[in-house]
């Protein structure tokens, strides 16, 4: 049996109930070959449950899902040959070393012992884990586990990769490394379905994003489409001289055509921007007017704002509101523009 469809994932009306609680309530997804698709939602939205249904790890209660045209319910064994799954929690064996884990999975996938060892070595090297090859996983850091887990999912060279919250709980540096790894995968032509709680992560990695909330898809589109549907970026300025706030406001209004929001006691001027590129125009305008600033940064809408706009309620879980390292903000320092 071979696969022919252009769609890597095609799901319609997916439903999963646990008792009388509906965790996934009729989700449709279409993911094209070669794209990175992000499923964005707060904790408990149903991301993992959706992914598990698509990966044959949970029975599909209602609806239909196809992976490269293969029906998930009818042919789970075939689907498992097409998908590499990296779960939210590392799915490697704690008591085995990194090499033993990869060789085990390689052997299960039908490789000879020699081929499995070679593939394991190659992957450990690609993921910067070769020094840790002989260490038991229980002694690994969170970031190392995630990378090993991803490496394990790539052993079979699957055409479709599922990544469930690949960076949740990682520190900003490790998170950046994980992003680089995912970008390399994508450059190699894999189709990736990734879930995340962070708008900036989806923004950085995904071609298209579906926003889900309480088991329902509330929006879908590119990151740009989502953000513009929600509102604009904001330029946050802090003036060196608080008394100049009114003058600055006039200058800004001349440049953007909109009145900025002022916090005079702090010397703050917050400028709504239709387009983040307008920030430079505002800064140049202020420089010409002789107004000096201490800090300036452009902030995109947060996931919380996206949610509020799309669903009329916040994300409920405090930790999911913004990414831990705030890397959405493109910080522009005054010295650089001046």
């Amino acid at each position: 049996m071979t696969t022919t469809t252009e769609l890597a994932v095609s799901a319609s009306g997916l439903v999963k109930t646990f008792g009388d609680f509906t965790a996934v309530d009729g989700i449709d997804l279409e993911i094209r070959r070669g794209e990175v698709f992000g499923v964005l939602g707060p904790n408990g939205a149903g991301k993992t449950t959706t992914l598990k249904m698509l990966a044959t790890l949970l029975p599909i209660d209602a609806g239909k899902a196809e992976i490269f045209g293969v029906d998930v319910k009818a042919h789970p064994h075939q689907v498992r040959q097409l998908v590499g799954v990296t779960g939210q929690y590392a799915s490697v064996d704690e008591n085995l070393t990194a090499t033993e884990n990869l060789v085990l999975f390689g052997r299960l996938l039908g490789m000879s012992g020699k081929a499995a060892r070679a593939a394991s070595e190659e992957l450990l090297e690609s993921f910067g884990l070769q020094e840790a090859a002989k260490r038991q996983i229980s002694k690994f850091s969170g970031g190392m586990r995630r990378r090993l887990d991803l490496a394990a999912s790539l052993l079979s060279r699957p055409p479709l990769i599922f990544l469930d919250e690949p960076t949740t709980g990682l520190d900003p540096r490790t998170r950046g490394q994980m992003w680089d790894t995912i970008r390399t995968l994508v450059a190699g032509g894999s189709t990736v379905l990734l879930t995340t709680q962070y708008l900036d992560e989806a923004d950085q990695l995904a071609d298209r994003i579906a926003v889900i909330d309480r088991g329902v898809k509330v929006a879908e589109g590119t990151s740009e489409q989502l953000k513009t549907s929600v509102g604009n970026s904001t330029l946050h300025l802090r003036l060196s001289d608080k008394t100049q706030v009114a003058t600055a406001a006039a200058v800004v209004e001349k440049v953007t055509g909109d009145r900025p929001v002022l916090t005079p006691e702090a010397g703050g001027v917050n400028v709504p921007l239709a387009d983040a590129d307008r920030a430079a125009d505002v800064l140049i305008g202020l420089r010409h007017a002789g107004i000096s600033i201490t800090t300036a940064n452009v902030q995109q809408p947060t996931l919380d704002e996206v949610f509020l706009a799309l669903t009329g309620h916040g994300t409920d879980s405090p930790e999911s509101a913004v990414s831990p390292d705030n890397s959405v903000n493109s910080d522009i320092h005054t010295e650089e523009v001046a």
Partner: protein
């Protein structure tokens, strides 16, 4: 990294409908190897198959020997074969709790997501456990010999009894494997396992002759699979005879596997 990724296969690859028999065996052996490595790293897993046979054999022989058979030495043919069956049963019980603990770990999600035979993650550890039953059986027999047990069945009879003990342990482990796939916690598996193990061990001729029990109990003793194994082991080791008891023991063990292995696989894959 780039080299690695450039060799990705596209989605247009031939897909297998189901794992073949050869693949299933190879995957089971791979899972057995995993269980073996873990066993070697966690020597606690050998406590029940080393300390228990040593302790119970000596203890039971000296405590019950005089009362039941007049003296310790004439009790040995009864107690050694009884302990063999008992240790096989307790050792196989650990399969259920270990499977349950293992299944709660993340790695089982990967096993489930891999295109492998559903029976491999269940059967693999059961194969590795043959080592545990082998250790338990060997120690029990050695302790017996040291205490003066002189099996009438000779070397051949003893080897046959040893092999039957291991086979019985492996067969009975499927009951506990099934419990492991059905119950939610390792504690539950342990508790229910005990409730199954005690009547099976003690309502058998393992330690006392069946005739000393009340009539109504004897009916249960007769159909207890552990009784079948004990009778067969006694015939093999103490007399060197391949009797109908041996046939019945083999049939009984095979029946346990035939019922509980498919039930286990069914219950394991149903949860997917």
């Amino acid at each position: 990294m780039a080299a690695l990724i450039s060799t990705y296969a596209v989605a247009d690859r031939p897909l297998k409908a189901r794992p073949g028999v050869g693949e299933t065996i190879s995957q089971t052996l791979t899972m057995a190897r995993r269980a073996y490595i873990k066993m070697m790293r966690n020597p606690e897993q050998f406590f029940d198959v080393t300390i228990q046979p040593l302790l119970f054999t000596a203890m039971f022989a000296y405590i019950f020997g005089g009362a039941i058979s007049g003296d310790v030495k004439s009790y040995l043919p009864t107690i050694i074969t009884g302990i063999l069956a008992q240790t096989a049963l307790t050792a196989s019980m650990a399969r259920g709790t270990q499977l349950r603990e293992d299944m709660d770990k993340g790695v089982f999600d990967r096993f489930k997501a891999l295109p492998i035979a559903r029976i491999a993650p269940l059967a693999g550890p059961a194969v590795a456990d043959l080592l545990r039953y082998g250790i338990a059986a060997t120690l029990t027999i050695v302790v017996g010999l040291l205490m003066g047990y002189r099996p009438g069945g000779g070397v051949g009879g003893v080897l046959a009894g040893w092999a039957l003990t291991i086979f019985a342990g492996w067969s009975l482990s499927w009951i506990f494997t099934w419990l492991g796939t059905v119950l939610k916690t390792a504690g539950g598996v342990q508790g229910l396992g005990m409730m199954i193990m005690f009547p099976l061990t003690f309502l058998s001729p393992a330690f006392v002759p069946k005739e000393t029990m009340p009539d109504w109990l004897q009916h249960f003793v007769d159909v207890n699979p552990v009784t079948l194994v004990i009778n067969a082991t006694r015939d093999l080791m103490n007399a060197g005879d391949v009797t109908m008891s041996v046939v019945w023991a083999l049939v009984g063990c095979a029946a346990v596997v035939a019922i509980f292995a498919p039930l286990s696989v069914w219950s394991y894959s149903k949860k997917l």
